[in-house]
Amino acid sequence: MPKKIPLIELSNIVKEYPIGDNEVYRALDGIDLTIHEGEFVAIMGPSGSGKSTLMHILGALDIPTKGNFILKKKNISSYTEDQLAEIRNREIGFVFQSFNLLPRTTVQKNVEKPMIYAGISQKERTERALAALEKVGIAEKAGNLSNRISGGQIQRVAIARALVMNPSIILADEPTGNLDSKTSHEIMKFIEELNNDGKTIIIITHEHDIAAFAKRVIKLVDGKIVSDRENGKKLNGI
């Protein structure tokens, strides 16, 4: 493991959803989790295990019912919607499974979008967007409309957009779910390289061969962490 700087500290996170009048469904049941800078973590679990809910909390898309979420020494568990928006804008780069890009908008405009919300000037936006597209190896598609590029290219553009604000975490939710195995492998290789450069990566997946790229694998069942181990070179035991 690299330097021990805690980036994320979840303590006793509980997330409940109301179902019916007096009943609640507990999606997360006391999660304690610390993620350090530079880690590559895969969160696994069957459907209904709470991995999506955990992704929402980690991505500052939602706040926990109970417990504390400390991100870069700030407790964001009770942030307002707009404060969370700012955290998402500056600290988290999302890569989703599908619907990553705005339709009928150019690739470059898509990558510029987070910078627009951050109030960055047009000149700097263009420079940074082109540099990010260069980095994911798709600079020549900058002027293309987002619905005129392939699935693998879409995920690369999404990664470029995730990187452009230089966030603390790249949060990828089933990023290869819609891709063929060859393209999946390419994308995962690329994400691995980003981690080698020092980016903190959290990936949500139910596929073992995707999780295999991560250095740490966390397994969730019924809203609880049932296993948290280093991946290393030994892949047995999951």
Binding site: L61, D62, E81, A85, E86, R104, T105
Partner: protein
């Protein structure tokens, strides 16, 4: 977030559904077109009347016999030469500049072996000061001619064309009016669209010739009075009214047996009518704008639902509630404002075309255009606010999960 960016995104979003956007804008286009069109034509009509009255001058008023406008035509005899003399001789009426009496009748006129019926104005030399016609040939009736009741006639340009042909000087020719021979001493032309119609089609002869020889009765159809000071014209009208009531021995509770009307009365009548018409059309257009606005709201709600996932994505990458709100509000405002601008263009073009056809002045009202721009923007904000707030308040997870 920059407004330029929001604007560009809004235009892009609206372009995706061109047909839907255009149909939604239609309500706004119709409303604004109607307002601009009617307002512009109304203003044109007022300007037309104002210009007409200004060519006569707003410094005069007229007295007709009878208690209503029509009784003069019906042959009311309540206005007499005695009344005329009474006004002339009242030294307290210092504001009066000219008094012109008129006795009118319609008779057969012959010249060059042709015969037609025309309106004959019996008047005095003072009529020229009131009508201010252009004398194409010769002169108007002189004081000498009217006092001596000479057999002279001044004819309108249309009358001259009929008997003697176009571009012919009729001065010196003779004409038979009611079987008596008159010498033509002048030809007049009035370019006024309102008055030209009858002035150019009439003949003017000394007043006594009409009352003594044609009608055989000393009655007047009209007395026109012009004043020195326009601002005190209403005072002069009141004084003349009092004098005539006295002349006619009317009791306090008797109604006038004559009518006094001034150019300003006519102008204010026209303004009242145009004002009412404009208010009515503005009201109807207001309904059209509300209906249009509801259409905008409906389409924006559909758009918010359709783009729920997009809203989720934008929220995930850092859009705040305000950003989403402005984005959707911008779309509805762009839609209504564009509709408004098209309405202004259509309304103005339509008003121009109608002004050409109806031969009235073309008036572009800058305040009306500015109000139209303001109103269409307001419709966009008012009816776009609810859908935009709904979009802004969507929870990011619900929006991302939406299928």
């Amino acid at each position: 977030m920059e407004y330029k960016e929001i604007f560009i995104s809004a235009v892009q979003a609206l372009k995706i559904n061109k047909m839907r956007t255009s149909l939604t804008m239609l309500g706004i286009i119709i409303g604004i077109t109607a307002v601009i069109l009617i307002y512009s034509i109304g203003q044109g009509a007022v300007k037309f009347i104002t210009d007409e009255l200004a060519s006569f001058g707003t410094d005069y008023f007229q007295i007709n016999p009878g208690s209503s406008q029509l009784s003069a035509i019906a042959g009311s005899t309540s206005l007499t030469f005695d009344d005329l003399e009474a006004i002339r001789n009242d030294t307290s009426l210092t504001n009066i500049r000219n008094i012109a009496p008129f006795a009118m009748t319609s008779v057969k006129v012959q010249a060059n072996d042709e015969e037609d019926e025309y309106l004959i104005y019996g008047s005095t030399h003072e009529a020229v000061e009131i009508f201010r016609p252009e004398m194409v040939y010769g002169d108007f009736l002189t004081e000498e001619q009217t006092l001596g009741s000479e057999k002279v006639a001044v004819i309108g340009t249309k009358v001259s064309e009929n008997f003697f042909g176009e571009n012919t000087n009729p001065v010196g020719e003779t004409i038979r009016i009611n079987n008596r021979i008159y010498r033509i001493t002048g030809m007049l032309n009035s370019s006024s669209a309102l008055a030209g119609g009858f002035l150019n089609n009439s003949l003017f002869i000394p007043i006594d010739a009409v009352t003594n020889e044609i009608v055989g009765e000393e009655r007047l159809q009209e007395i026109d009075i012009s004043v020195y000071d326009q601002n005190s014209i209403n005072q002069t009208i009141e004084d003349v009214e009092a004098l005539l009531r006295d002349q006619h021995n009317l009791d306090e509770d008797d109604e006038n047996d004559f009518q006094i009307s001034s150019a300003q009365d006519i102008l204010s009548t026209v303004q009242t009518i145009t004002g009412l018409l404009t208010a009515m059309i503005v009201g109807i257009s207001g309904i059209s704008l509300v209906v249009g606005g509801v259409g905008v709201m409906n389409i924006m709600l559909v758009s918010v639902t359709e783009r729920t996932k997009e809203i989720g994505l934008l929220k995930a990458i850092g859009a705040k509630q305000k950003d989403i709100l402005t984005q959707f509000l911008m779309e509805s405002v762009v839609m209504t404002l564009l509709g408004g601008l098209m309405g202004i263009l259509l309304g103005t073009t339509g008003a121009y075309a109608i002004s050409k056809i109806a031969n009235i002045p073309f008036v572009v009202s800058i305040p009306a255009i500015l109000i139209a721009v303001g109103v269409s923007t307001l419709v966009g904000i008012v009816f776009g606010l609810y859908p935009a707030r709904r979009a802004a308040r969507l929870s990011p997870i619900d929006a991302l999960r939406y299928e």
